[in-house]
């Protein structure tokens, strides 16, 4: 799709995607607790979830800069 003047890739999509993913991950604990009766301690869950999310963000960022160098 190169050459399409309308196609503008921005980091806005990454930010929004990240926040939506964060909310989904956050709700996952509620789903585990309410639907499956699995009580994961918030003190454990939230730091781990946050670490995973930040890891994903860093990885995504690294991949994107590699991609743009190649492209």
């Amino acid at each position: 799709m190169t050459g399409n003047p309308l196609r503008i890739e921005t980091s806005g999509g990454v930010l929004v995607g990240f926040v939506v993913l964060a909310v989904v991950v956050f709700e996952l604990r509620t789903v585990l607790g309410m639907l499956f009766g699995i009580d994961v301690s918030g003190v454990v869950y939230f730091p781990v979830a946050l670490a995973v999310l930040v890891g994903l963000l860093v990885a995504e960022n690294a991949l994107r800069s590699v991609g743009s160098k190649e492209g």
């Binding site: 309308l6 921005t10 309410m34």
Partner: protein, 76 residues
């Protein structure tokens, strides 16, 4: 007749900054022009089927597990 179109120009001349974050430029430049007949919103259908599945699943859980399992049912 489209309703009260102001002008054909849509702010396309404001440079990349404007364009990347604001409304897209004039639709005369579009990559593809899709009419109602040739446009199948299959992505929308997929998304909404996922939503449908979530709704049904959550409803069943809320009604039959949370509500009916909640004790002290009002019977009269």
């Amino acid at each position: 007749m489209n309703e009260g179109m102001v002008s054909a120009d849509d702010g396309a001349t404001h440079g990349d900054l404007e364009r990347s974050v604001s409304a897209p430029p004039d639709q005369a430049d579009v990559d593809r022009t899709l009419s109602h007949e040739e446009f199948d919103p299959k992505g929308t259908l997929a998304l909404i089927l996922v939503y449908f599945a979530i709704l049904v699943g959550m409803w069943v859980f809320m009604y039959f597990v949370e509500f009916l399992g909640n004790g002290l049912t009002v019977v009269g």
